[in-house]
């Protein structure tokens, strides 16, 4: 079978999928909509196109993928959504459970104000319309870690709708070009988390811990405006940064505070959307893109081989690197939604509609929350570009690595070196070392103060930039030493003694008459060889520019 020929997009991938361009994408309706993704005016052409689709011709092996996401973010709160038991990641099993969380008869939900505020704040940050009236519903399914047999969610009228999330993708050979993209946000709904099941296959039993049962979740539904794993992963990363900036969720994927389900389909551009599959529980940033790309490829393969895509739920097996069909609770089912009878509608206010004399503890004011919005990552990046003359892609990297921005800011605060120099050192040298050893910023053996001191010495021209690199390597290897100590121990300071440097230059010239001849014959590269030899003689303690000047003076005399 010939590998499907795909139109280029998502650069940097070995295979690339056809991206639907923006103008056509906005014309599409609901996630499941089957409207033509081409421009509206083309609708009369469409049937013709469809008629020829049966027999593939050259150049028709193009597929476009459509990816939508459902992201569950655990709300960062002290207590659960509807009960006063604690929210905490590590605790003895079933210790953070109230009678309501265990669904004992006679218990009732009492809504946590903090969770409502977190949802409103997240909605505002994601450019949503906040619904001043939203409703709670019950979604039924049976699972041992869902003691009530239903989850309270917001199916009919969620708290926030119609938002958007902007993110930037890097393209080009060196990934130095930045393309801005937007994904629409359908809605944000408040809902309860379930408990956790530990499957003991050996003894054929399931252990249930309800500590997580009832923790507040924000379900953020992203419209299918993405077309590959990288776009989806980048959008999720941006959402994660926003949630963390807001403090509405810690959004730590490793601790399950951010969980992603992806809806994926492929189709030929200009034709109706294909049947979609849902890949559940993409709980690792690393595997998110891979799982989505695998599923896109699988669907293309299946269709190219004359197969058919089933509307099914799949999970990603990270050991095998592929998606597999799921059964169990995830099988398509009837959720039998009903309005939650124990919770009246949730009403929100703005400064205008705020009822006079209302108990401030009992009303949530949207305008007040808007005023409290902290700086969002996009603004932080813009500021870095403005303030430090950084490139947009550099600001992206600085925010994407956990703790790197803080490290950078600490170095900037303590050094007199140029911001551009600091940027380059932090993003190239420092981050390069971290990546090489697979370390987080917090695990770095070099502190921000040590780097600041080193950059100061470089700025004062106390050391050459080559020596600075060496000092950095030493700092990395010998935790606890200061740059100044290393410089004096290794005698790396620049030669301040002009005479000594001149002597070295003279000696080098005398030792290499052949090279001197070459220079005199007009070979422009010969001088570089001499500079190199002198630098070696100085143990990299002299700047090449100074050596060059000195040599030229001597050679011309």
């Amino acid at each position: 079978m010939a590998a499907p020929m795909l139109r280029g997009c998502c650069p940097g991938r070995r295979w690339a999928l056809a991206c639907i361009d923006h103008s056509s994408r906005h014309g599409r309706g609901a996630p499941t909509g089957s409207r033509c993704s081409g421009k509206r005016g083309q609708s009369s052409v469409a049937p013709q196109h469809l008629a020829t689709a049966g027999k593939p011709r050259k150049g028709e092996h193009e597929w476009a993928a459509v990816v939508g996401l459902e992201v569950h973010a655990q709300i960062s709160s002290n207590s659960k959504l509807f009960s006063g038991s604690q929210v905490h990641f590590v605790a003895p099993p079933n210790s953070l459970v109230s009678f309501f969380d265990a669904s004992l008869p006679g218990t009732l939900p009492v809504l946590n104000r903090r969770c409502v505020e977190a949802a409103v704040m997240t909605g505002l940050a994601l450019n949503c319309r906040i619904n001043k009236k939203s409703l709670f519903d019950r979604k039924h399914y049976f699972y041992a870690d869902l003691p009530a047999g239903y989850q309270i969610t917001q199916q009919r009228l969620p708290i926030a709708v119609n938002g958007s999330l902007a993110y930037s993708i890097r393209v080009g050979a060196k990934r130095s070009q930045v393309i801005n993209k937007t994904v629409r946000i359908k809605q944000i709904q408040l809902e309860q988390d379930s408990g956790k099941s530990l499957h003991d296959d050996l003894r054929s039993q399931t252990l249930i811990d309800l500590n997580r049962a009832g923790v507040g979740l924000l379900e953020v539904v992203l419209e299918p405006d993405m077309s590959c794993g990288e776009e989806a992963a980048t959008a999720v990363r941006e959402l994660q940064l926003i949630l963390q900036a807001l403090g509405t969720s810690q959004a730590n994927m490793a601790e399950g505070q951010l969980r992603v389900d992806a809806n994926i389909s492929v189709h030929r551009p200009g034709e109706p959307l294909g049947v979609r599959t849902e890949v559940k529980n993409l709980n690792s940033a690393r595997f998110l893109a891979r799982a989505i790309d695998y599923e896109i490829q699988r669907q293309i393969r299946e269709l190219e081989n004359g197969g058919e895509i089933l509307n099914e739920t799949r999970s990603f097996d990270f050991k095998l690197g592929c998606t597999v069909p799921m059964r169990d609770k995830e099988g398509k089912q009837d959720y039998r939604f009903i309005p939650e009878p124990n919770l009246p509608p949730l009403l929100l206010y703005d400064s205008e509609s705020l009822p006079a004399g209302a108990d401030p503890q009992q009303v949530v004011n949207i305008d007040q929350i808007r005023e409290q919005l902290p700086e969002l990552p996009s603004v932080t990046r813009e500021k870095l570009v403005q303030q430090y003359g950084m490139l947009p892609e550099q600001s992206l990297t600085l925010l994407n690595e956990v703790g790197l921005l803080e490290f950078f800011q600490n170095v900037i605060k303590e050094t007199r070196a140029e911001p551009k120099k600091v940027t380059s050192w932090v993003l190239n040298t420092f981050l390069g070392f971290l990546k090489q050893q697979n370390l987080a910023v917090s695990e770095s053996p070099v502190t921000s103060s040590a780097l600041a001191e080193l950059l100061d010495l470089l700025d004062r021209k106390a050391i050459s930039s080559a020596a600075a690199k060496q000092v950095f390597r030493e700092l990395w290897a010998n935790e606890g030493k200061t740059p100044a100590q290393i410089i004096s121990e290794k005698k790396l300071e620049l030669m301040q003694d002009q005479e000594a440097l001149e002597q070295l230059c003279q000696a080098t010239l005398e030792e290499h008459p052949q090279v001197v001849m070459d220079v005199k014959k007009g070979n422009p590269r010969a001088i570089n060889k001499l500079i190199g030899l002198v630098r070696k003689a100085t143990l990299s303690r002299a700047e090449p520019a100074v050596i060059k000047e000195m040599l030229e003076k001597k050679l011309s005399s």
């Binding site: 006063g84 004992l104 946590n112 049976f142 009919r156 249930i208 309800l210 099988g331 009878p341 009246p344």
Partner: protein, 136 residues
């Protein structure tokens, strides 16, 4: 086909719950087929067990169907009987929990402070054949 029927039965059940169902479709007959029973058993994890229970279900549906006799045209549905009440907001304080011992008394089997449940969640046999339930 049967899935459609199931939806009809469920709609009949949810007859009073507007907002979820559009205008209820007319009931085909008072009969509930074996397939529908099987589907309901799986959804609700209950065992109807006998023909008598099925007959009771049919009577209940017929009883609920009488709700259709009320003319509700032009009447705006209510969200809930509490819709004019204020939704009380609790401040975010930890005031409950730490009662694992009491809670675990409700469990027939306990392992190291975990509830013990059977593996999976669908006790009905022939799971593979039931996969087709998902298609409609």
């Amino acid at each position: 086909m049967w899935a459609r029927a199931a939806r009809l039965v469920l709609r009949a059940w949810a007859g009073g719950r507007r907002g979820f169902t559009s205008k209820a479709e007319p009931q085909e007959s008072g009969r509930v087929t074996a397939e529908v029973i099987e589907h309901l058993e799986r959804l609700a994890l209950v065992d109807f067990g006998s023909q008598e229970a099925v007959a009771r279900l049919e009577t209940a549906i017929a009883f609920a169907d009488r709700l259709r006799e009320v003319d509700t045209d032009g009447v705006e549905p209510m969200e809930s009987v509490l819709e004019d009440r204020c939704l009380y907001l609790r401040s975010d304080n930890v005031v409950e929990g730490n009662c694992a011992e009491e809670l675990l008394q409700n469990s027939r089997r306990v392992v190291e402070d975990y509830f013990v449940a059977p593996p999976g969640n669908i006790p009905l046999p022939k799971l593979d054949e039931q996969e087709s339930f998902s298609q409609s």
